[in-house]
């Protein structure tokens, strides 16, 4: 009799517990992600630049292009370097023979050359605007100081590497 009663009580408790499952109980799970800062170039990248230089008059006409980006981070930046890898604002085009023609890069659309533009330093981070950005790039051969006045006729070229940090 005592065993039967115990079993009955246990059965009743089990039934009560099972009955709670008759109702739909909303429960949850989480969906999450962490988006890392990144940048993309939103067009084909900066165009090749062809500035002009006349040694006899030591005059240069700069050429401009843009670096169009989208960056989702708060503090994106860009650096520019070439093979000269100077620690200052000098970039250098070279001929096949190895002669240098020094020029500078600046962040300007008007591209008025050395006198009016603020040159960028090689391998030094320059702030890009967060979100959609259009960074102006001007290249102009350096005038004054006879730096390039002895340049020989010929074709000079240089490859500039730009590195975007998001």
């Amino acid at each position: 009799m005592e065993h039967s009663l115990t079993a009955l009580v246990a059965g009743a408790a089990l039934f009560a517990a099972a009955s709670t499952g008759a109702y739909a109980v909303p429960t949850t799970f989480n969906v999450s992600t962490t988006i890392n800062a990144s940048c993309s170039v939103t067009d084909s990248g900066p165009a090749n630049l062809t500035p002009s230089y006349v040694p006899s008059t030591d005059t240069s006409t700069g050429a401009a292009t843009t670096l169009n980006t989208f960056c989702n981070g708060a503090n994106p930046n860009v650096t520019f370097t070439d093979a000269l890898n100077s620690s200052d604002t000098l970039f250098a085009m070279t001929t096949v023979g190895g002669s240098f023609l020094y020029y500078q890069i600046s962040n300007t659309a008007t591209c008025t050359g050395v006198a009016g533009d603020n040159p960028v330093y090689e391998d030094t981070a320059i702030a890009l605007t967060s979100g959609v950005s259009s960074f102006n790039i001007c290249a102009a051969v350096i005038t004054g100081g006879n730096l390039n006045t002895g340049a020989q006729a010929g074709t000079y070229s240089d490859t500039v590497t730009y590195t975007i940090a998001p």
């Binding site: 499952g21 799970f29 989480n30 969906v31 999450s32 988006i35 993309s40 989208f70 989702n72």
Partner: protein
Amino acid sequence: MNFPTLSRSGTALLASAAFFASVSSGAGATNTFNVSTTIEDSCSVTNAGPSDLVVTYVPTTDTSTGAATSLDTFCNGTSPTVSFSDGTYGTTNFAMTGPGGYLYYYLSQSTTCTGVVADNPIVQGFTQPLGAGTTSFDICAAVITGGVNTGAPAGAYSDTVTYSISP
């Protein structure tokens, strides 16, 4: 000669004796009583529930890698269902929130979890059939690609999805 009178307790004793005699006259008859119950439809989740899902998304390339889990259930009814909602929209768009506002994603019933292109997204609040008996309902989450999220700023995004099982 005086006869003794019956007290109140004596009356009750006589009445009980008469009742006992009545029941005794039915000896050998079969009497019954009933035991019954109604089992209602119900469901139980037979695992720990769906795992939290951590998806990836790169706005600059507009690419997402989905994440999958499962809702394992036992239902004794014939047509159990489940619905999902995060309380934001009545469409297929679910939304995580983060520093830039919303980051939209899909839920789909998929194991391969190939994302928006190949999976059929679930509409918020709409019932999806669960199988009767023991069943495993696959759940995939993938950030929507195609332009709606490309401006998302860097940071942590999250959302809580409520699933409701109807037995």
